[in-house]
Amino acid sequence: MSDTSPDSTPTSSGSTQTRHQAGWFDIRNVIGLLLLIYGVVLLVLGVFNASDDQLARADGVNANLWAGIGILAVGTFFVTWAKVRPIVVDDAQVERDKAAEENEPPAH
C-alpha cells in the first residue's frame, strides 16, 4: 500500500505525463465552494425572506443580504485565485522528494 496518490492524468496543456493540477484537492477550491454556497443561500434569504420580524432583529439592516454579498465576494476570490494560479502536482518530483526523505540518515 505504498502508493495511494491520485492517478497521473495528463493535463489539457499536454505537458509531461506525471504533472496534473490539484483541482479539488486544492484547499482554495474547497474554501471557495463552501463560501459560494453560503453566500448564495444568504443572498436568497436576504431577497426572499426579509420579513419584518427577521429585519427587526438587526435593527432594520438586511443582514443576510449584505453578509451574503460579502461572503460571495470572498468565495469568488478563492475560486478565481485557484483558477489563475493552479497548484501543479508533479508526481515524479513528489516521488523523488519522498525517496530523498527516506534515504536520509535517521534523525537520532
Binding site: M1, S2, D3, T4, S5, P6, W24, F25, I27, V30, I31, L34, L35, I37, Y38, V41, L42, L45, G46, N49, Q54, L55, R57, A58, D59, V61, A63, N64, W66, A67, G68, G70, I71, V74, K98, E101, E102, E104, A107, H108
Partner: protein
Amino acid sequence: MLTAADTSLRLDASAIDYLLVGLYFVFVLGIGLMARTQISSSLDFFLSGRSLPAWVTGLAFISANLGAVEIMGMSANGAEIGLPTMHYYWIGAIPAMLFLGIVMMPFYYGSKVRSVPEFMLRRFGPTAHLVNAISFAVAQVLIAGVNLYLLATIINSLLGWPIWVSTIVSAAVVLSYITLGGLSAAIYNEVLQFFIIVAALLPLTLLGLHKVGGWNGLTDKMKAAGTDGQLASWPGTDLTGFTSSFLSVVGIVLGLGFVLSFGYWTTNFVEVQRAMASKDMSSAQRAPIIGSFPKMFIPFIVIIPGMIAAVAVTELADYKKAGGKGGNIDYNDALLLLMRDLLPNGLLGVAIAGLLAAFMAGMAANISAFNTVFSYDIWQDYVRKDRPDEYYTRVGRIMTLVATVIAIGTAALASSYSNLMDYLQTLFGFFNAPLFATFILGMFWKRMTATAGWVGLVSGTAAAVTVAILSEDALGGASVGVLGLSGQGASFVAAGAAFVVDILVSVVVTGMTQPRPESELRGLVYALTPKSDFTEGESAAAHWWLSPTKLAGVSLVLVIALNFIFN
C-alpha cells in the same frame, strides 16, 4: 437526560440554519476523505509531508488556538473588563509569534526534528525529552477533554441536545477526520474554519456596532454605565489585579508579554507543528509571521462583540451592573446572547457552524499534536524501535482513537468538577514558562549540559507551582494566600519565577557537569549551525513579503500602532 440548561440561551434556529450547519460537516468529513488519498507515509500523516504553503500553515497556526476557550473566554473578558483584554493578543501573542518565526524556527525546521520534544531529545538527551514528551502528551489529552466539554455544553444550550449525546457526536466527528486524513485534514479544516468564523463574527460585530450607534455610541453607553475606564487598554489593572498602575504595566509586559506568551507560542507543539508542516524554511519561518496579521485583528471581532453585549443585551448589562452576580447567565454567554438578539435565520446558521467548527478545531489540534508526540517521541523512542514506517502511522491512528476516548472521559469529569479543570489548565501553563527558558538557553549556549536541561526544567516548574500555592487563588483551594497575589497577576509572577529559577539552576548545574561534544550539537545550537540555515529564508525572497524579517518588521510596527490607537 435533559439537563437544566437554561433556555434563555436557546437560539431560534430554523431548518435553513441546520442545513447550513449540516453542509459544513459534509465539507469537514469530505476534507478528511480527500486528505486520506494523499497519505502514503508516516511523515504525511503526522507532518503533512512538509508540503503546505505558508498562508495555509500560517492560518492554521492561529486557528489551532482559536478554539472554544479562546472565543468564549476572550469575548467574556471583553464583556467584563473591556479593552485591556486586547493585551492577550497584542502583547501576549504577536511578539512571541514573530520571535518564533525569526529566531527559533530555523532550529526547529532546520534540524529536521519531527516534534518539539524531539528537539529536546537531540539537544539534551532522554531525561529532558521524557519529562517534556510525557507532560505534553498528558496535558494535550486533558485539554482536548476540556475543549470537548465546552463544545458539548454549547451544543446543549444552543440546540438542546443532552450533554452526553453532544459529547459523543462531536468526538466522533473529530475522530473520523483526523484518523482519515491526519494532520493535513486537521490543518485544512482549521483554514476552512478560520473563514467560517470570520464570516460569522464580522457581520455580528458590524450589526452590534450598528445597534449601539457605532464606536461613539458604544463609548457613550459605556460612559453612561460608568465603565468607560475600560476603554483604555493600558495600564490594565483590572486584568492583572495589581493596584499599582506601574506594576500592572510591568506585569503585563514581562509576565504576559514575555514569559507566559513566549513559553506558550514558541514551545507549544500544537502551534509549532503547524509551521513545521510548511514546504520550505522560508515558509516555515513565515507561517507564524503571516499568522500574526489576522491574529492582531481577531480581537476586534471577538472582544468588541463582548463589550457590545455588555451594554446592548439587557440581561448582561444588568448582570454587569450587579458586579457579575445574579441572573442565570454569565460573561461567558456574551457572544451567544448577542447572536440570539441580532442575527436573522441564515446568518444564525453560519454563526453556529462557525462556533462548532472553532470548538472542534481546538480539540482536533490537541489530538493531532498528541498523536505525533506519542507515536514518535514515546512509542518509537522508548517502546518499539525500528519498525517499518507504516507501523507508526498505524500507532498514530490507534492513539487518535484512544485519545478521543480519554477526552470523552475527561469531558465527563469536567462536567462534575469544572473548577478542577480551570486549575489544571493553569498548572499546564506552568510547564511552558521553564520550557522556553531551557530552549532559549540551550539554543544559544553550547556549553549547557544535558543534566542542566532536565534539572532546570523540573526546578522551574516546581518554582511556578510553589508561587501558585503561596498565592491567594491561582490554584483555588490549594492556594494558601501567603503572597498577596490573585487573578492573572499571580500567574504572571508564577511564570516569571519559573523562568528565573530555570535559568539560574541551569547555569549552576552546567558549571558542575560535562557538556556534550560539539559534534553532537550541529544544527541545534546557534554557534554550531551553518549561517545559511538562518539566511536561507531571506536570500530566496524576491519581494519584501517573502522575507521573514521584513514581514515581521511590518507586523511589529502595526501592532505598536494599534497599542497607541487604543491606548
